[in-house]
């Protein structure tokens, strides 16, 4: 076996090993990104659940006002949600402008530094003193 043949064989071996490493790396990236995408969708689900049901204002006639946040419910909000058998914790706050920015919250425990988190802020309405004010509902979610 000549030196040239040895070098060619070596190059091919390196290429094959590189290909395997790239495939394994892509698979690991796929797992990470899938988990992040799932967390992103869960955060959207949490925001929807809060704005149309859990925090929605209910008037004296028991009529549910979806997308209108009741500050009283915000204070007693349970900040854990089970989705597809997995528990997610979240921290929620509502901010609005009335002669400067006001923030209600945050409610819920502080997000851990060692886990992936996803934050989402959407427009909503805050029911305060008989008025419907434009506001922002912000949620940070992570796996419990």
């Amino acid at each position: 076996m000549t030196l040239t043949q040895i070098l060619k064989t070596l190059a091919i071996c390196i290429l094959v090993i590189s290909f395997l490493l790239v495939t394994v790396s892509a698979y690991q990236q796929h797992l990470t990104i899938s988990a992040l995408a799932e967390l992103t969708d869960v955060t959207s689900a949490i925001v929807t659940s809060l704005s149309v049901e859990k925090l929605a204002y209910v008037d004296n006639d028991e009529k549910l006002h979806m997308y209108s946040i009741d500050p009283a419910k915000l204070e007693n909000c349970f900040t854990r949600l089970e989705i597809a058998g997995e528990n997610f914790d979240f921290r929620v706050s509502v901010s609005y402008e009335a002669g400067g920015e006001h923030v209600l919250g945050p409610y819920g425990s502080a997000p851990p530094d060692d886990r992936a988190r996803c934050s989402l802020a959407v427009a909503c309405v805050l029911y305060e003193n008989g008025r419907f004010l434009p506001a922002k509902l912000s949620v940070i979610a992570w796996r419990a």
Partner: protein
């Protein structure tokens, strides 16, 4: 070809081709993975456009007890709307500036038999109809005229990426 084989060039070409294939495979596999996350982000923006529409439909223009979209529909149809147009535009710009996602623009458009009522934030970004990535929520605001006629005014709220942002 025999001369190429003699010099070992064919093997070198094969190895070079494999190397190019390796690089392309790596780029495609990693880039394809990112599409999942991009799709999830797009779904969040769709949710934001839905919430923004509902916020404009429900939130009041202070100090009037009329929602932003209803006030805009009145400006489109009535000679004497509850909220004067200049005040409404200023108030709506403030609200859109506060609620709009960073790096994106918002347009609100109402139309009914005549020139449309339109507002963009930030100013001078256009209506975003041709924007590559846009998230649109459409609905209707219903008004009852003094004559008793009921009119449904089509409303479009569009969030789109600002070019170069």
């Amino acid at each position: 070809m025999a001369r190429l084989d003699d010099r070992g060039v064919a093997d070198i070409l094969a190895i070079a081709f494999m190397f190019v294939m390796l690089v392309l495979a790596a780029v495609f596999m990693h880039a394809y993975n990112l599409r999942t996350l991009q799709a999830a982000t797009d779904r969040q923006l769709e949710l934001k456009s839905e919430h923004l529409y509902m916020a404009l439909e429900l939130a009041w223009v202070e100090p009037y007890s009329v929602s932003f979209l209803r006030a805009a529909a009145e400006n489109l149809l009535l000679e004497q709307p509850t909220v004067p147009e200049s005040y409404l535009r200023s108030a709506m710009e403030n609200v859109l500036g506060y609620l709009c996602p960073p790096g994106y623009a918002v347009t609100v458009s109402l139309s009914y038999d005549g020139p449309p009522w339109e507002l963009s934030w930030p100013e001078n970004v256009g209506l975003g109809i041709d924007a590559e990535k846009q998230f649109v929520k459409q609905g209707k605001v219903r008004l009852t005229m003094a004559s008793g006629e009921k009119i449904a005014v089509p409303v479009t709220v569009r969030i789109f990426e600002i070019a170069g942002a």
